[in-house]
């Protein structure tokens, strides 16, 4: 539905490109999130799809139409592209009513009045604002304004909806609620969407696929489950959640020699030369006694501290090698600081991390 090929973007006057050769294919009905730290080029990429930025080279297609091609000089202007967009600042026009805002794209397309009225009513009902149609847009709360912006994007029935951090201006509680609502809404309509955010939890919950971005490039692309449980780069492992990272000295088959000792790994690409291995704190098991069976990756250590936080206990364990690691343990675990414990790093949860991978 949307396809980017080797897209580069350098802003006028800038010395470094903001987007460096990005390629992505979004299938019809798919929800793809561009996730990355601020300044990584995700918004620039999205705005290029909308035609709000002029890329330096590469190509962009929406549906069957090529809307940008750096080598043939094709550049379709924003208002001629089959898109709709939701902005971070909502961009709800303050001099119009709620229905005036939502009707605007249809009025510009010169649809018959009756159809405009019907489609506006439908869109407002979808976002639950049907009783607010005649309110002035400035009388709404932040969350309601965001719904107006979403209705305005839905009403156009475009090939793809672009969303630029649409939830980041809402307060935490509202953000969580809108997140679930948005996902349900877009899945009901079956919309193709490209979504930009820096919030990894948002990306994990909403997306069919996540394109993880850093320094103008896609680092990894995959489903939320893949990216969280089996990241293949150090950046992927640390950006999507907390991780304990161990430096790899040598790899031989399924055994890797690290700075805390030799660990057994169980990954698809075993045998590759990993730079690091990592593990999520919640995947680490801590026991009071060493297991009587010979199990791999069990290491003795000293419990430095145990902090209860309601949902779980946050433990810090110092291993014999001197390295301290964080562990998220069950809330009912009963340990005392200073005692000897055994940590187990399950082989199937160890993540083999390379320096760089091809994102697909």
């Amino acid at each position: 539905m949307v396809e980017l090929k080797d897209l580069w973007l350098t802003y006028p006057g800038a010395t470094q490109p903001s987007v460096r050769g990005v390629s992505l294919r979004v299938e019809p009905g798919e929800f793809v999130t561009l996730l990355g730290p601020s300044g990584c080029g995700k918004t620039s990429t999205l705005r290029s799809v909308a035609g709000l930025e002029s890329p330096s080279s590469g190509s962009i297609s929406i549906g069957d139409n090529e809307v940008f091609n750096g080598s043939s000089g094709v550049e379709v202007r924003t208002h001629m592209r089959d898109i709709s967009m939701v902005f971070q600042s909502y961009a709800v026009w303050p001099h119009m009513t709620v229905s005036g805002n939502v009707a605007f794209p249809l009025e510009v397309a010169q649809l018959p009045t009756a159809e405009v009225r019907q489609r506006v009513a439908e869109a407002l009902q979808m976002v639950g604002l049907d009783s607010f149609a005649d309110r002035s847009a400035t009388q709404l709360s932040g969350g309601q304004q965001q719904r107006v912006a979403i209705a305005r994007a839905l009403v156009r029935r475009s090939a793809v909806m672009l969303l630029d951090e649409p939830l980041s201006n809402l307060d935490a509680k509202l953000r969580e609620q809108m997140r679930l609502e948005l996902r349900q809404l877009l899945k009901t309509v079956g919309l193709t969407a490209v979504y930009v955010t820096h919030d990894q939890e948002e990306a994990l919950m909403l997306s069919d696929r996540i394109a993880l971005m850093n320094a103008g490039k896609f680092v990894e692309i995959g489903t939320p489950v893949d990216l969280y449980l089996r990241p293949r780069t150090l950046f992927g492992a640390t950006f999507l959640g907390a991780a304990e990272i161990f430096k790899v000295v040598r790899t031989s088959g399924t055994a890797v020699e690290t700075d805390i000792g030799v660990l057994q790994v169980q990954v698809d690409d075993a045998g590759t030369d990993f730079e690091h291995v990592g593990i999520r704190p919640e995947a680490i098991r801590v026991t009071q006694h060493a297991s009587p069976h010979q199990i791999p990756n069990q290491l003795p250590g000293t419990l430095v501290s145990a902090v209860f936080s309601g949902r779980q206990q946050q433990l810090i364990v110092q291993l014999r090698s001197g390295r301290s690691i964080h562990v998220l343990a069950d809330a009912t675990t009963n340990f005392a600081a200073g005692q000897t414990v055994y940590v187990e790093l399950p082989a199937e949860r160890l993540m083999g991390l390379q320096k760089e991978v091809s994102p697909d």
């Binding site: 898109i83 961009a91 303050p94």
Partner: protein, 573 residues
């Protein structure tokens, strides 16, 4: 589908740049060239430093320089002191009748400075001034205590005229100071004097310095007050000297070269000031004390000083509005120039008013003022919107070109109306194939240039508030750039633009010096007509025209206040 290179219209931006160069840079360049020509006309043969020799060799030039500096510095210091105290009283103390006080301090805006000066001539001229006669009779003096035709008189009247501007700048600064900043200092153990010295003054400093520089520029370029009070007794500052040299026929046209040399000298000074003003106002933006959070500034209790504070506000109002305007009204009603007295009260007549109102020359002048002011306002507002859009939003132009447009549109702030007038004379005497010299059209060109800096900054300020995503949202909804401007940008900017439009109309209506320099038979404005009554020894007729001008100005100002009050709409959620 369109080719990439044509995505927006660069010809519009380049056309704008060319227009600004023509409006601002060409006149200044011709002024500069003229100053090096022996005849003082830019296209004549030969180059020489003769004009500068003549000007710098003349001891009178240094008197002129000293007078101009004394006047500019004098009214800057006085206006800052008076305006600062008034702003502080209204905004940061428990002064009673606060709302009334605000109106009383802002009201002098409706009184054109030359009318204020004329009112003060009637009040304090050595021979006929009403105050002088009152004091002579009451105290048995043989000599008049006040002489308004002096440097002191000029500074005094100009101060009265400048106080409202100072008040507006500083009261905003006072109001926007978050009391939490002061409270924080007090919770750190600071006492009042320490708090004032370490927190209050430094926070206020950017606003103070910017206000001072602005006043200094105005002090250098105003003509109204020095022209009314200094020119008749040969006490000149640069702007009145230029008008004198240009309109005084005894010197012939040869004075043009000297005028250009004087103008160039002062322009260098003014542009330097304007440049530093701009740097400073940019800095103040970084000191944003406005948080958008509602708060009430900490107020000092005046206690026993309350009556004095009220009296200070009242005194300013009497001196700046009531007394001069009252005397103008009285003069417009007397059959001949006479002081206020009971026996004259019986002889009051509307004869002057009816004579003036039925005079076709006055009618023609009023019509010229009206259409010139409305047309100039419309053109300059449209131009300002284009400038603001190009500087802030257009992508088709490089950063250097946008900076150039920004600078060109700002420069007129520092160019006195008299100098624009002179420069335009050079331009259109040279480009004689454009037949505007001596017509009202040359006034339109002059006013579009002069008021470009105010309007373009108003337009930029409101365009900055307009989040770019508001118009990008329209583009992603399928609206073309033209539709976006028509349906989204214009409606949102309209209150601010309408405010700027009315402001320009009001200022053109009361503008004197440029109109005086550029006057021909067909383009006499109301202000010029008033001035010629005054200079021609018909003060009663001048006063009658003045009273009507004030009425028109009051109406326009009320409209402006209404429009600017609507600017507080929150844009962009």
């Amino acid at each position: 589908m369109r080719q990439g290179a044509l995505r927006s219209a660069p010809w519009l931006s380049f056309g704008l740049l060319a227009l600004l160069l023509y409006l601002v840079a060409v006149p200044l360049a011709l002024l500069l060239v003229s100053s090096f020509k022996p005849t003082g006309l830019p296209l004549d043969a030969g180059w020489s430093l003769q004009n500068f020799d003549l000007v710098y060799g003349d001891a009178g030039f240094y008197t002129l320089l000293r007078n101009t500096l004394t006047f500019a510095l004098g009214c800057t210091v006085c206006a800052l002191a008076v305006g600062g105290v008034l702003a502080w009283l209204v905004e940061r103390t428990d002064l009673p009748f606060r709302a009334t006080a605000r109106v009383m301090i802002a009201l002098p805006m409706v009184l054109p400075p030359f009318l204020l000066a004329m009112g003060w001539v009637l009040l304090a001229s050595p021979r006929t001034g009403w105050f002088n006669q009152l004091f002579k009779d009451a105290l048995g003096l043989t000599q008049a205590p006040f002489n308004i035709y002096s440097m002191g008189g000029m500074i005094f009247v100009e101060t009265l005229a400048l106080v409202p501007s100072v008040y507006l700048i500083l009261s905003n600064a006072f109001r926007n100071m978050d009391p939490a900043l002061e409270e924080a200092a007090m919770t750190c153990g600071a006492r009042w004097p320490q708090m004032v010295r370490r927190i209050f003054v430094p926070l206020l400093a950017p606003a103070l310095v910017a206000a001072a520089t602005y006043l200094l520029i105005v002090g250098f370029l105003v003509f109204d007050v020095p022209g009314t009070l200094g020119m008749p007794v040969g006490l000149f500052v640069v702007s009145s000297r230029i008008v004198y040299l240009a309109t005084d026929q005894s010197g012939g046209t040869s004075a043009y070269g000297q005028i250009a040399a004087i103008a160039v000298t002062f322009l260098v000074l003014l542009l330097a000031l304007a440049w530093s003003y701009r740097r400073m106002t940019r800095q103040t933006n970084r000191f944003v004390t406005v948080t958008g959070k509602g708060f009430r500034p900490r107020q000092l209790k005046l206690g026993g000083f309350k009556p004095f504070a009220v009296a200070a506000v009242m005194l300013y109002f009497v001196l700046a509005v009531l007394a001069p305007l009252g005397l103008l009204l009285w003069t417009s009603l007397t059959p001949y120039l006479a002081a206020i007295s009971w026996e004259m009260a019986g002889k009051l007549t509307l004869a002057q008013h009816s004579s003036v109102l039925s005079n076709p020359r006055v009618g023609a002048a009023a019509w010229t003022s009206i259409w010139v002011s409305m047309l100039s306002a419309t053109l300059v507002t449209a131009l300002a919107l284009l400038v603001a859009w190009t500087v802030l939003r257009a992508r088709s132009l490089g950063q250097e070109a946008r900076n150039l447009i920004d600078t060109l549109s700002f420069m007129p702030l520092a160019i006195p109306g008299t100098m624009i007038g002179m420069a335009l004379i050079y331009v259109y005497l040279t480009l004689s194939f454009i037949p505007v010299y001596g017509t009202a059209w040359i006034l339109v060109i002059a006013y579009v240039t002069v008021y470009l800096s105010f309007t373009s900054r108003t337009a930029s300020a409101s365009l900055i508030q307009l989040h770019p995503e508001l118009d990008e949202a329209a583009r992603t909804c399928g609206a073309s750039p033209a539709t976006t401007v028509r349906r989204i940008v214009l409606p949102l900017l309209l209150p601010a633009l309408a405010g700027a439009w009315v402001w320009v109309v009001a200022h053109v209506m009361r503008e004197l010096s440029t109109a005086l320099l550029l006057q021909g038979d067909e383009n006499v404005t109301l202000a010029v007509q008033l001035w010629s009554y005054w200079a021609g020894g018909e003060p009663s007729k001048a006063a009658a025209v003045g009273v009507w001008l004030v009425i028109v100005m009051t109406v326009i100002t009320i409209v402006w206040q209404r429009l600017s009050a609507r600017k507080d709409v929150v844009f962009g959620g």
